[in-house]
């Protein structure tokens, strides 16, 4: 019976947490589609969707219903299994990143100490990178299995883009990790919350800028949305997809956007830290909820930034994209790393 000797309450607690986080991310992804349309409209002096419900608030439901009702088409010449696997992988990898993010400090319920984080592993950031590097398989497999030249080119573009920018992203974080000395996301947040310690953006502005640019590229967002360049590739890697399989790809993209916003907020903007407030003076439950709200606000700002940039900056050409990634961002990130290392050494002396 050793197989069943778990801390069952812990298991239930984690299950509830996972269910909450997954459903919250799905709802946020839904409303990101709405926000995208609304922000685009406002930036272009239009009112945007306003028919379904007050201010068009029910529009995501209508869009979802539309996707579900569409005819499901699997091309005859496609590789059926991989064709279905593609969107599943995209969705899976998008959701998996949630596991290591600290959503708040901790709750004290029924005499239990509940961390608002699914798993605090000591390689948190690396885990995120690992999952993100898996994300490209969803695009590649889907694009290849469609048996369509446009999809294939889009898949190859997507893959090479993600691989190129992952390097710069990782290098930009190394300087930050030198400062924090830990890979665990919760430790990084706790350090930023400590009195007398500012948010990491103050110490690593260049690192943040590089990370931000790479996050845009990793999420396939404009100005780096080469895999979905409508005017060159028709529609990109999900051209042959219809119905909810297409919906999965679109959803995965929005969830990726949400997760990368959360990670930027966590690494550089103090995560669930509320500025100018000492959380330890509050009731832990209140502090946790307020902290979660603060994180949410920061995330909303970043999501808005994603959309704002999308409707401002035009798309890069493919060679410009590679040039920026390999010849500008990676050397910059390396220089940032060396300078940070030198400053740390100098301050320690």
């Amino acid at each position: 019976m050793t197989l069943l000797a778990f801390d069952w309450i812990l298991l239930i607690e984690k299950f509830v947490l996972i269910a909450i986080i997954v459903s919250v991310s799905l709802v946020i992804a839904m409303y990101e589609t709405y926000a995208e349309r609304k922000v685009a409209a406002f930036l272009q002096d239009r009112p945007g969707p306003n028919r379904a419900g007050p201010f068009g608030m029910l529009q995501p439901l209508a869009d979802g219903l539309k996707l579900f009702m569409k005819e499901e088409i699997i091309p005859n010449t496609s590789n059926k299994f991989l064709f279905i696997l593609g969107p599943c992988l995209a969705m899976l990898t998008a959701m998996m990143t949630c596991a290591v993010i600290p959503w708040g400090s901790h709750l004290e319920l029924f005499g239990r100490h509940i961390d608002l984080q699914i798993a605090d592993i000591n390689i948190g950031i690396l885990y995120v990178f690992g999952v993100v590097s898996m994300g490209v398989y969803g695009i590649m497999i889907g694009g290849w299995a469609s048996n369509n030249k446009f999809s294939l080119i889009a898949a190859l573009r997507g893959a090479s883009q993600v691989i190129s920018y992952e390097l710069a992203m990782g290098l930009s974080l190394i300087a930050l990790l030198m400062l924090t000395g830990s890979l665990s996301l919760r430790t990084i947040v706790d350090q930023q919350m400590a009195p007398g310690h500012l948010w990491n953006i103050v110490y690593q502005p260049l690192g943040f800028l590089i990370f931000l640019v790479c996050a845009f590229a990793e999420c396939n967002r404009t100005p780096f949305d080469l895999p979905e360049a409508e005017n060159e590739l028709n529609f990109g890697y999900h051209q042959e997809y219809s119905s909810m399989k297409l919906g999965f790809y679109l959803f995965a993209e929005y969830i990726n956007m949400f997760i990368s916003s959360v990670i930027m907020a966590t690494l550089f903007f103090g995560g669930y830290d509320i500025p100018f407030l000492d959380e330890s003076t509050l009731n832990p439950n209140v502090a946790a909820l307020l902290g979660g709200a603060a994180l949410f606000l920061k995330v909303v700002f970043f999501i808005f930034l994603f959309m704002w940039v999308r409707w401002t900056v035009p798309r890069f050409r493919y060679d410009q994209l590679m040039d920026l990634g390999w010849k500008k961002l990676i050397p910059l990130a390396l220089a940032n790393m060396v300078v940070t290392g030198a400053v740390i050494l100098w301050l320690k002396k």
């Binding site: 406002f42 930036l43 002096d45 009112p47 306003n50 704002w308 940039v309 401002t312």
Partner: protein, 178 residues
């Protein structure tokens, strides 16, 4: 070459300065511009609830007029058809029989009167050519249809409802024109 206007601008091809080649200032400037649009007044007219005012010279669908007693004005003289540059109007005249004086004002009337709305260019020349004030361009426009036949408007479609028996239909066909 002589410039047509003095608004033309010479294309600058000098290499970018360091500040420009960073792109970031340019991007921030662009983002400031798009952000300012967030607070601009939206010019959208929410169609079914709000409607744009027609301009005073708007020319829409034709109506065939009736006089004060509800009698048709048209005498099928054919001047409108002659004036029509798009040759959209066809008609057939008929003689008024005794007892029909309350239907038609003159001794001759149009038994058949058709306007092909796909040909019509809504120029309003028919309106000007008519000696009997029988045809007017209203302030309504042709609804969409699935086939071409639907755009050939028969006399029944064109004739304005009688002001005395059907005031609602009359107002609708007349549109908002004064």
């Amino acid at each position: 070459m002589q410039a047509l206007t003095n608004r033309g601008k010479e294309v600058e091809r000098k290499p970018m300065s360091f500040w420009e080649s960073l792109y970031l200032p340019g991007i921030f400037k662009g983002m400031a511009i798009t952000f300012s649009h967030l607070f601009k007044k939206k010019p959208t007219i929410h169609y079914p609830e709000q409607k744009r005012e027609f301009s005073p010279v708007f020319r829409g669908l034709h109506v065939l007029n009736r006089d004060e007693e509800g009698r048709e004005n048209c005498t099928a003289c054919g001047l409108c058809a002659v004036a029509c540059p798009a040759e959209a109007i066809t008609m057939e005249g008929a003689e008024r029989m005794p007892g029909e004086e309350n239907l038609y004002r003159e001794e001759k009337y149009a038994a058949k009167y058709e306007i092909n709305m796909l040909r019509c260019i809504f120029c309003g020349l028919c309106e000007e050519a008519c000696p009997k004030d029988a045809i007017y361009l209203s302030e309504t426009f042709a609804p969409s249809d699935f086939n071409r036949k639907g755009f050939i408007y028969k006399k029944e479609d064109l004739l304005i409802p009688d002001k005395n028996t059907d005031p609602e239909g009359y107002a609708k066909a007349r549109g908002s024109k004064k």
